[in-house]
Amino acid sequence: MNIDKDLVAAMATPLVLAILVEGENYGYAILKRVRELSGGELEWTDGMLYPLLHRLDRLGYVSTEWGASPEGRRRKYYEITETGRAQLAEQRRQWDTATRTLGGLWGLAAPAGA
């Protein structure tokens, strides 16, 4: 399935923030997690993740720290901040409304309690 580009862009921020709620992580692993979660259906140009992460950093939603990979290569880790968690909660409210609205029209069960 080919998901519309704008929709992918709109999902990107909450998706990345939600993955970071699971714990501090770095770019490649975040993308692997995206693939895993979407069963490979969400195709994403890998490189675009990084400008997005940098934007989240600038907005204060994540903090960064340089660490090292097992091979000793420098690796940048991203960790969600309190502001980021608040932002995620806000986005989640919006997505809930969006899916509930469409679900009502399409006769799908509204996501319970979400």
């Binding site: 770019g27 490649y28 140009t45 890998d46 490189g47 675009m48 400008p51 950093d57 600038r58 990979s69």
Partner: protein
Amino acid sequence: MNDAAMDAETENQIAGWRAAILRGRAVDAADAGELEGHLREQVADLETAGLSGDEAFLIAVKRLGEVDALTAEYAREHSDRLWKQLAISRTDDEPRQPLVVMLVFAALAAVLIQVGRLLADIPGTDGMWFVRDLGLFVLPVLAAYFAVLRRMPVATALALFAVVAALAAAVTLFPFEPDSATGILVAIHLPIVLWFVVGVAYVGGDLRSSTRRMDFIRFTGEWVIYYALIALGGAVLLGLTSLILAPIAPDAIDDVMSWVLPSGAAGAAIVAAWLVEAKKSVIENLAPVLTAIFTPLFAIMLLVAAVGYAAVGIGREFDRDLLVVFDVLLLVVLGLVVYGISARDSGRAIRTMDVLRLVAVVAAIVLDVLVLVSMLARVGEFGFTANRVAALGLNVLLLVNLAVTAYLIARVLQGRPAVHVERWQTGYLPVFAGWVLLMVVALPPVFAFA
């Protein structure tokens, strides 16, 4: 699985790819390192899955995305880098601004200023209006230049034109008394109002975007630098011209001055704007460098001044000229801080600079409070005049801005993102704009044009 396993061929390909993404300058070395790490892991994973080094590299690079698209995305996010080196992808989708358009507008400004000068020279008229309206002969042309450049919608452009026309009508029709204080205040504030009009045109009418407003603040700083450089060159040219003319045609010197100087100064306003936009030059990183040099120096100067004035007291000799000096000083400090903050690289923020900024701002607050106290005492003693209202208002506005800025810089030092400082400053622009507009259209009638 590990780096050592990658063969020389793949290493070469990776090095070539890395050079390609660094070329546009939107991606810095640290970002390139991050992307390269990603690429290597992807290649390693694909090789584990059974692909050859060559195949793995091709697929990994394809997944990362086209180099052009990738660097363009970085440029969008790190527009400050783009600002510093306007090199990326412009050439493809946007043709370089035609030189001709700029020259036409520069010539227009140069002619208009001469028309104004000749009108003001007509015997029997009071030439003061020309000084008051000077900005009207140049800055609307600059605004029009940007309106054309940004392909502003006609409706917005007309609205902007109406605002300028209304301003022009107001300051022309106001019956100022000879040598009136309100007239001088209008002469000071009108160019600033018009500069905000230029700002509206500069952002192409996109007033709500904080990023665009920040671009305009950067533009203002760079425009001042370019204008100063052109003015220096012009001064040398005119100085040498008059020296050369002196032995053969001493009478011609005045003519040359009265024709070349105003036209040159007016045209240079457009040329400087074009230089900032087109980045023709070598001095692209000048503003951040100047900020870095002068922030510590101003911090020291302000600290000394604050301590000195606090110890001695501002005294009764505090007159209008000194007040103007103080206001300019406070504005310069604000400019340095905003510039410095916007140019700082979040990856390599220098803590010392933030501390210095905080010192400068706090010292500026102390000075501002001293000035305000002395002014309030005067108002209490002698009542309000147009000058005192203008000075008091500006200092209160600056005090509020500086106080919040100091708080936000302190938060930055605690690790909060610097974007809040930018947002605060860009959000404050309308307050300044509203205030200077009041000074031009409301203050003169209130004080009966005295």
